[in-house]
């Protein structure tokens, strides 16, 4: 095999992960593993009410406690810092100034009100107990739609005169006219549950200030070190050059660890006041109230069709719950982008309303609006098929875009790049034996349970279509990734990236791509991730965009570095660069392997500037920034097989099949891990996870790990992953993003399977999560409607 062919095999190979050894040995460096000399610890006092006036606050007994070093209140924070900034504002919405501590009013349970630094976390918590806060509870509203009612308390008076933060419409064609002309229209109100990302490591921060050097060093559990640095600079009114943010190992992110949180700023303010390092580690009860929630929305979704089964229009009018403030990434926006899914239609409208409520702020979470709208659309597709007397799978197939239709501009303006949607639908149908299921008479099994099969198809936006697209949506960040490659005298390559490591395997995938292009050993690439002091400015890891953007940057930087290394080698070996190849950590003549030069030799020459061509400058280092022009759209179909008890509503999930296309898989092992992990998160959100607020008290009643049911190993049904690999024409290696896709289809596939199992009773499901109780209620409703 030629060296080139051998190297080619690096992309597409399931290489062992760079990250694994340290993590397996307990030698990862998570935020709480950072221990600084003379370090102090911070604890945060939080509002116990959903809405309250803060009439007074006496910190003097706490300050008198031995070991307490410093206390910040809302007034201090207003004097010392500016409000937290937002990376992804809601388009067209006014700013909602958000300080790190509440001032005269707190508007959600868990909002930070006071923070204490002491010699230990335990002492800081003791001190919080001594702080007397005079709260006057105010009327609150926790329901998304009630928040928009005329009599609801207005949560941001002075900025808004109601709780409607913004309304935005994306439309194409004449959907209302098409609806009026349709032979049949089905519509429904869908309620999507509020969930949380549930990273196993909560958030955390260690801040250290050196007043003489004017240097703030921050270790944080973040997906976006460079963006956090920028936001800290804004709120602290410091020059960005004074701040370094480093994230070494991050214990899960899933979108929740994007951008600044109040505690990041508080730790910095304390550290700057004291000149000593300050650590804050979020505990799990805080996590449920202080780290952003996700998903909650109410969809009024309708589909119009002809009796022959052609979809003519979609209207998607939804209200998304922002919680109390606009967090860094605010509420999900993609429910307006991919709402028509894989179907071919020209007339559609998405109307998005953003409501403010007395709850923890909503933020980004894996899928970012796509699982939500997928549930509404795909459940309604099945319902429409049943009304028309058509098969759910055939109905989908009939309306799906064909490969020859692509690229296709959807009614939202998104451009689907390529793919074969029907193929994934058929693969899913075959995998679960759908034809046989359809043909067999419907009989209960021994337990009296009925079997059902359901499908959900999707198209997923991965990556961003350029910074121009982001500017149109009001986002304060770019679409690019960047990398610096630096040759070292050992003959290896140091790769510097601002992408922090939180489980996605980017150290591995980046090294694979880099090693492939340089034709060097995978082991010779040393990845240094997540430190703003050493990495080029980048965007960060979210939106399934990292690999898409970073792959282009790595390719450009590696080409530049390789070109210079080969020019130096050619000069030494007295040949032309084109006559050379790299193999086994040496550069050699392609036609005469005995004439070679070790990479360590070439790199050393370049670094010290001795023994290089006179026209070359010393050094061997390259940086590149790359932004893709277009987003890549991944796609697929999930199928669920369930067995449901028509009396009790109890059910089991017997199989889950996912057919997915992520284009070229750089590392199939990582791809499977991402898809599977996402699927199980989607399963949790579909079946058991629910952040419930008591409407009377406004309290979060499922806010602990004992009350919030994320799946355990024993809860996961058999899952099969099937891949289609159609390379995307818009990315460097044909890849599509893979980080979020698993979360998108499970809920709809499961609901459709349950409705199929219980079809003879006319069961319809429209809210999440899907529990035995909700199925039992749906059975009861259906029997009431059709006695």
């Amino acid at each position: 095999m030629s060296a080139v062919a051998a190297q080619r095999s690096l992309i597409g190979a399931s290489l062992p992960r760079k990250e694994d050894d340290r993590l397996l040995r307990g030698d990862g460096c998570f935020t709480d593993d950072v221990q600084s000399a003379h370090q102090l610890e911070m604890a945060v006092g939080r509002c116990p009410f959903p809405h309250a006036e803060i009439r007074g606050l006496d910190v003097s007994p706490a300050l008198a406690l031995a070991g307490v070093e410093h206390i910040l209140t809302g007034a201090d924070v207003r004097a010392l810092s500016a409000p937290l900034t937002v990376l992804r504002p809601v388009p067209g919405a006014p700013e909602l100034p958000y300080y790190a501590l509440a001032g005269e009013r707190a508007i959600h349970e868990g909002q930070p009100v006071v923070s204490v630094v002491a010699t230990s976390r335990a002492l800081a918590e003791d001190a919080l107990e001594l702080i007397d806060i005079d709260y006057e509870p105010l009327p609150h509203v926790t329901d998304t739609l009630q928040a928009l009612a005329e009599d609801a308390p207005v949560l941001h008076p002075g900025v808004l005169d109601s709780n409607l933060l913004a309304r935005h419409e994306d439309r194409a064609g004449v959907p209302e006219e098409r609806m009026a002309e349709a032979d049949i229209v089905v519509g429904e109100r869908f309620r999507i549950n509020r969930v949380t990302a549930m990273a196993m490591e909560g958030r955390g921060v260690v801040a250290r200030w050196r007043p003489g050097a004017r240097q703030l060093s921050v270790y944080a559990s973040t997906q976006t070190p460079h963006l956090l640095r920028h936001q800290l600079a804004e709120s602290l009114r410091l020059d960005e050059g004074c701040i370094r943010v480093a994230a070494s190992d991050v214990g899960g992110g899933f979108g929740q660890k994007l951008g600044i949180y109040p505690e990041d700023l508080l730790a910095a303010l304390h550290a700057m006041a004291l000149g000593r390092p300050v650590k804050w580690i979020e505990d799990r009860l805080e996590y449920f109230r202080a780290s952003t929630h996700a998903r909650e929305a109410v969809f009024d979704f309708a589909i119009g069709a002809r009796t022959d089964g052609e979809i003519s229009a979609i209207t998607n009018r939804y209200t998304t719950d922002l919680g109390a403030w606009n967090s860094s990434f605010g509420s999900a926006q993609l429910s307006s982008v991919v709402f028509t899914g894989p179907y071919k239609l020209a007339d559609a409208v998405a109307e998005r309303r953003v409501a403010v409520t007395n709850k923890t702020p909503i933020g980004a979470y894996r899928g970012y609006g796509q699982p939500e709208v997928n549930f509404a659309r795909e459940v309604l597709i099945d319902r429409l098929a049943r009304r028309l007397g058509l098969d759910a799978l055939e109905f989908r197939e009939r309306n799906m875009l064909r490969p020859e239709d692509l690229p296709w501009k959807t009614p939202s303006g998104a451009v689907y790049d390529s793919g074969d949607y029907v193929k994934t639908l058929r693969m899913a149908g075959e995998a679960v034996g759908y034809a046989a299921h359809r043909a067999a008479p419907r009989r209960a099994d021994g337990d009296g349970r009925l079997k059902g099969i359901g499908f959900a198809s999707f198209v997923e936006r991965t990556g961003y279509a350029s910074a121009r697209f982001l500017a149109n949506r009001g986002s304060i960040f770019g679409a690019h990734e960047s990398v610096t490659l630096r040759a070292n005298r050992s003959g290896d390559i140091d790769l510097y990236t601002g992408v922090s490591t939180f489980g996605q395997g980017s150290e591995t995938a980046f090294a694979q791509i880099c090693a492939e292009i340089l034709a060097v050993d995978y082991e010779s690439i040393h990845v240094h991730a997540g430190d703003t002091a050493s990495s080029p400015l980048n965007t960060g890891a979210f939106a399934s965009r990292t690999l898409i953007a970073a792959a282009g940057a790595i390719r450009e930087a590696a080409d530049e570095l390789r070109g210079k290394a080969l020019r130096i080698a050619a000069w030494v070996l007295e040949t032309a660069p084109e006559a050379l190849e790299v193999s086994g950590q040496v550069v050699r003549l392609r036609d005469d392997h005995s004439r070679s030069l070790a990479l360590s030799d070439i790199f050393t020459r370049a670094i010290i500037g001795q023994g290089i061509p006179p026209e070359e400058t010393p050094g061997l280092e390259a940086s590149a920034h790359y932004a893709p022009d277009e987003a890549a759209f991944s796609f697929g179909t999930a199928a669920a097989v369930v067995a449901a008890d028509p009396e009790s509503g109890e059910f089991s999930v017997d199989r889950l099949v996912m057919v997915h296309d992520c284009g070229t898989a750089v590392n199939p092992l990582l791809v499977e891990g991402q898809v599977l992990g996402g699927l199980v998160q989607g399963l949790g959100a579909a079946l058991s996870e629910d952040l419930i607020y008591d409407p009377d008290t406004g309290q979060l009643v499922s806010g602990s790990m004992l009350d919030y049911f994320m799946p355990t190993a024993a809860d996961v049904p058999p899952i099969e992953l099937l891949h289609s690999e159609i390379p995307s024409p818009v990315t460097s290696f044909g890849e599509r993003g893979v980080g979020e896709v698993g979360t998108i289809p499970p809920a709809a596939a499961l609901a459709n399977a349950l409705c199929d199992a219980l079809s003879e009773f006319g069961v319809e499901l429209s809210r999440l999560p899907l529990t035995p109780e909700s199925v039992w209620r749906a059975l009861k409703n259906a029997k009431g409607a059709n006695p």
Binding site: D20, G26, F30, M200, G252, G673
Partner: protein, 161 residues
């Protein structure tokens, strides 16, 4: 040292050690912050997530539910004891091969739980393994790789039961 600090002597990963801890400090914090064994992680401090699982006298336990002082005289094993020199143990190697970790925060908990299962000498079916492993949570992997890795380790690569 303030007066509420107490001296604790125990055996950790084969070595006799002695350190001070406040009476209210839990065992996971003691291992992490007093003994510097930061491989044991803390995820909920209420005995649900299992990140802090260690072996206490051979039994897998959640160390956030123990006070540091309860470790007096105990024999404790943590994740730091598994690898020998630069070589991963069979269990760790199985996790690597099966892509049984992503962010790695939960991994020490699963490794210590599985080490405890192995030392029990029992045989486990895949369903039983899933049941046993439900004492530790993972949000990244969807568990499949973890179940397979533990199955490899307990059954020498072959499914049992």
């Amino acid at each position: 040292m303030s007066s509420n600090e107490h001296s604790i002597s125990l055996r950790v990963n084969g070595r006799e050690v002695s350190a001070e801890a406040p009476a209210r400090m839990h065992a996971a914090d003691f291992l992490r912050h007093r003994l510097g064994l930061t491989g044991t992680h803390v995820g909920c401090e209420q005995g649900v997530c299992g990140m802090c699982t260690i072996l206490l006298d051979g039994e897998a336990v959640k160390s956030c539910l123990l006070l540091a002082m309860q470790l007096e005289g105990a024999d404790v094993r943590t994740v730091e004891s598994l690898a020998e020199d630069d070589r991963l143990s069979d269990l760790q190697a199985a996790f690597k091969k099966r892509h049984a970790l992503q962010c790695g925060f939960c991994t020490p908990g699963f490794l210590m739980l599985a080490t405890g299962l192995k030392s029990s000498g029992r045989k486990f079916s895949r369903d039983e393994i899933r049941g046993e492993l439900s004492g530790v949570l993972c949000r990244c992997t969807g568990y499949d790789g973890i179940v397979r890795a533990v199955e490899d380790y307990l059954g020498d690569g072959e499914a049992v039961g």
